[in-house]
């Protein structure tokens, strides 16, 4: 890529064109942008605001209202722990605590410093029959225990370490 910044806006333009620059399509537009950049960068939201003729505050309002939008970069691996009723009564809190301890996260800090992991709690994944459920990078794992959850995370850590080693060589 010769001009990374120009091409960055090219993709946004494509997304905007795909939705005919229709301000009513703001949510699908932001969803597609987030799918592309993994978060909503400020300069792109400003760009979208001009393109759609909406105020930046309106865009910011929508981006902060819905929990799926994030204004800060997420980790490479997203761990979603379901804390819906069924998972909650089957002790999903224990899973969250175990993960927080393992990755050094807390209620405020949801992404690890190395940007490898982001921990999210979600209200209900609809996999209540398998409670408690954990979704790791879009794969559902059911009937989890703190031990089996940590095992998953450690497997990823090991894999990531391997990648780092290989690139170093």
């Amino acid at each position: 890529m010769d001009h990374p910044i120009a091409s960055k806006f090219d993709r946004v333009c494509q997304i905007l064109e795909h939705h005919q620059r229709n301000p009513h399509k703001l949510i699908p537009i932001l969803q597609e942008i987030q799918a592309e950049y993994l978060y909503l960068p400020e300069e792109i939201m400003t760009f979208v605001s001009t393109a759609l003729g909406l105020s930046t505050s309106a865009i910011y309002g929508v981006a902060t209202f819905y929990s799926h939008f994030t204004l800060t970069p997420k980790g490479k691996n997203v761990i979603k722990v379901c804390d819906g009723t069924a998972c909650h009564v089957k002790k999903s809190e224990g899973l969250i605590q175990a993960i927080e301890k393992e990755l050094g996260l807390n209620a405020k800090k949801r992404t690890t410093d190395d940007l490898l992991f982001t921990l999210e709690t979600v209200a209900c994944l609809g996999a209540c029959g398998l409670a408690p459920a954990v979704v790791l990078n879009d794969q559902v794992h059911g009937l989890m225990t703190p031990e089996s959850t940590l095992k998953l995370i450690r497997e990823i850590k090991a894999k990531e370490a391997e990648v780092v080693c290989n690139t170093a060589v």
């Binding site: 301000p23 699908p28 209202f65 799926h68 009723t85 996999a127 029959g129 559902v140």
Partner: protein, 627 residues
């Protein structure tokens, strides 16, 4: 464009199916896929090929010996992955990829059953060959869900082969808008999303509005934690939702439909998109549908994670690209809805029930269930029961039938089964209330539930055993509604926050008599003063637990004790002297040095210093520390 008729497609499908020796259906619901259903699917292909036979997949229907198909969620998620072999209907559970070889060898080729993979009768221990004999299914009446778990959601022809789209065609070609509304009113169908408003009447109110543009919206923003029936319907039988929407469109004169799906349901979104594409190609959606003059287009919109968008006015704001905040009603959506146009907005299950009710005859449908709540209702049965999953029963079924006969009894924390001895059942999610032992034999329907302070909601049934602390549950739901409150009206935004704070005071031992009184007063204020359903119903879990479990609240507040020992801050860790081996490990691990002792003497915990973190109990190898 000339399309082949539904009858031709149905005949073609059956001709095609008659060539196969067996049909292998692998449950492709979220639950079974999480447990490796796709591996099993591919293993079947490989094993059958290795035997020199040929298997085809449902969508292609090539000439072959066997046909492999993925169904939607069959509801018995806990027993997954599930494999069903037709024509006999042999039902194998907990299947692993390594079992596939044996299934092909023994069952498919030699016709023998494999007892290890069958469900066994709880009492006699006899293996049960098919779903008709399994209590979990035998006691249900699967009507809306009938085809879910039987057909391949991605294959429109399977839906057509089961008479799919005939009711939409009938409505579009042979009925007037008024006749459709009358038929649905006669079926007694009420909204399955929570409110229970009669569907036919809702449609008729929209029908009489004069406007060139009207909309049908399918509300698939199933946000109640603990409920997943809409997910199963959208994943397992998306065409039934489309057919219901076409019928609704005819009834009100709409030309555009929206399906609003939660973003947490990626599989449902994918299958709905495929279904819309197939229906367009078949001429059921788009311009001049079924060869009539009616145009009806469909747009699928993914939510972005806001529970309040399940409220209809908030959902419409979200489709319009705004923050999903509710608006005061009236005007009702029937008059002024999406983009200011008359709009019908129905829940997924309601829409999927419409073609089913018409198919079986609206009078026959109305005859099911109870007088004022006709038909059947799906419930997501979860929590501490032996068999969790998705069920469907007629209205009027009792909790005892659901929990004991279908759910197989309540499971204690230690794994033992205690039959019907549950502590509470939360129905209707964070908007609903709890039911107790005294409601065990009450017929469940809209009105009975309202009369005891609960509601059917979207149909989550979370069973809780005797070891569950209900204050914690009330706090959990309050935390949820407080998080999800959109912030528009003060009583909901601030009231839920204060209620949560009071509940935390109770679980952490800071509460007084005044806290309880204030909590109750606030609950009533939030209930009366909030704008939308979220706030109006948010206090329900608190009010109903206060009503039925006052003793438990009192124990927390006055005795500073949690009867179930679930509230960490109220627990009191103690060393059982007889079991203590004086190893000193607990004292070493204690972060505040609250444990002291010496070799040969049992250790002691200083309660004034203890911060109740529980590390000592986890550390002790001899289980000598209890709370």
């Amino acid at each position: 464009m000339q399309h082949s008729s539904l009858e031709e497609r149905k005949q073609h499908y059956h001709d095609c199916m008659s060539q196969y020796k067996a049909k292998i259906v692998i449950c492709g619901g979220t639950g079974c896929i999480a447990n490796g259903a796709m591996d099993i699917f591919h293993r079947f292909e490989a094993v059958i090929a290795a035997k020199g036979l040929k298997a085809t997949v449902a969508l292609q229907k090539e000439q072959a010996d066997y046909i492999l198909s993925k169904s939607g969620c069959q509801g018995f998620c806990q027993m997954g992955p599930l494999v069903t072999l037709y024509p006999q209907g042999i039902f194998y559970v907990h299947v692993k990829a390594d079992d596939v070889e044996e299934i092909v060898e023994k069952t498919l080729l030699q016709g023998e059953l494999i007892p290890r993979l069958l469900i066994h009768d709880d009492e006699t221990g006899e293996p049960l060959p098919d779903t008709a004999h399994i209590p979990f299914y035998a006691k249900q009446e699967r009507t809306t869900l009938k085809l879910c778990g039987m057909i391949d959601a991605q294959d429109i022809d399977e839906y057509i082969a089961h008479d799919g789209y005939t009711m939409a065609r009938k409505a579009v070609l042979d009925m007037t808008d008024q006749e459709v509304c009358q038929a649905i009113t006669a079926s007694g169908l009420r909204g399955r999303g929570g409110g229970g408003f009669p569907t036919g009447r809702k449609w008729d109110l929209t029908r009489v509005q004069v406007n060139d543009t009207k909309y049908v919206i399918c509300n698939g923003d199933e946000g109640d934690p603990g409920a997943f029936m809409d997910r199963c319907v959208m994943e397992g039988n998306p065409h039934s939702v489309l057919e219901g929407m076409i019928i609704a469109a005819k009834a009100i004169g709409a030309n555009c439909g929206y399906i609003y799906v939660r973003a947490e349901y990626p599989l449902a979104v994918e299958r709905l998109k495929l279904a819309v594409k197939a229906a367009k190609e078949a001429g059921f959606l788009g311009e001049q549908i079924f060869g009539s003059t009616m145009n009806f287009d469909m747009i699928i919109m993914e939510g972005a994670g806001a529970f309040v968008c399940g409220e209809e006015t908030a959902l419409m704001a979200s489709i319009e690209g705004r923050r999903g905040m509710p608006m005061p009603k009236p005007p009702f959506p029937a008059v002024k809805g999406l983009f200011g146009k008359p709009t019908v907005i129905n829940n997924v299950e309601t829409l999927a029930t419409v073609p089913v009710a018409m198919q079986m005859g609206v009078e026959n449908y109305a005859a099911k269930g109870t007088a004022k709540s006709s038909g059947t209702k799906t419930f997501a049965l979860t929590g501490h029961v032996a068999h969790t999953g998705l069920i469907e029963v007629p209205f009027g079924t009792t909790l005892r039938e659901i929990i004991v006969d279908i759910g197989g009894g309540v499971i204690n924390d230690d794994g033992s089964n205690c039959g019907a001895d549950f502590k509470a059942v939360q129905i209707g999610g964070p908007s609903g209330g709890c039911l107790t032992q005294e409601h065990l034999d009450m017929p469940l329907d809209y009105d009975n539930l309202l009369s005891v302070g609960a509601m059917i909601g979207s149909g989550g049934l979370v069973v809780m055993n005797q070891q569950t602390c209900l204050i914690q549950i009330a706090r959990f739901f309050m935390q949820f509604t407080q998080n999800e409150s959109c912030g528009k009206c003060v009583v909901c935004r601030e009231g839920t926050r204060q209620m949560l704070g009071l509940l935390e005071d109770i679980t952490e031992g800071r509460a007084t008599k005044e806290s309880l009184e204030l909590l109750e007063e606030l609950a009533h204020v939030v209930k009366i003063g909030s704008l939308c359903g979220l706030g109006k119903t948010a206090p329900n879990p608190v009010l109903s637990t206060m009503k039925y479990f006052r003793d438990e609240y009192n124990a927390h507040v006055f005795d500073k004790k949690c009867p179930t020992n679930q509230c960490q801050a109220l627990s009191c860790y103690q060393v059982v002297a007889e079991l203590c081996k004086s190893c000193g490990l607990c004292a070493k691990k204690c972060p505040v040095n609250a444990i002291s002792g010496a070799k040969g003497v049992p250790y002691v915990i200083d309660q004034d210093v203890c911060i109740k973190c529980g590390v000592c109990m986890e550390t002790c190898k001899f289980h000598a520390i209890v709370k």
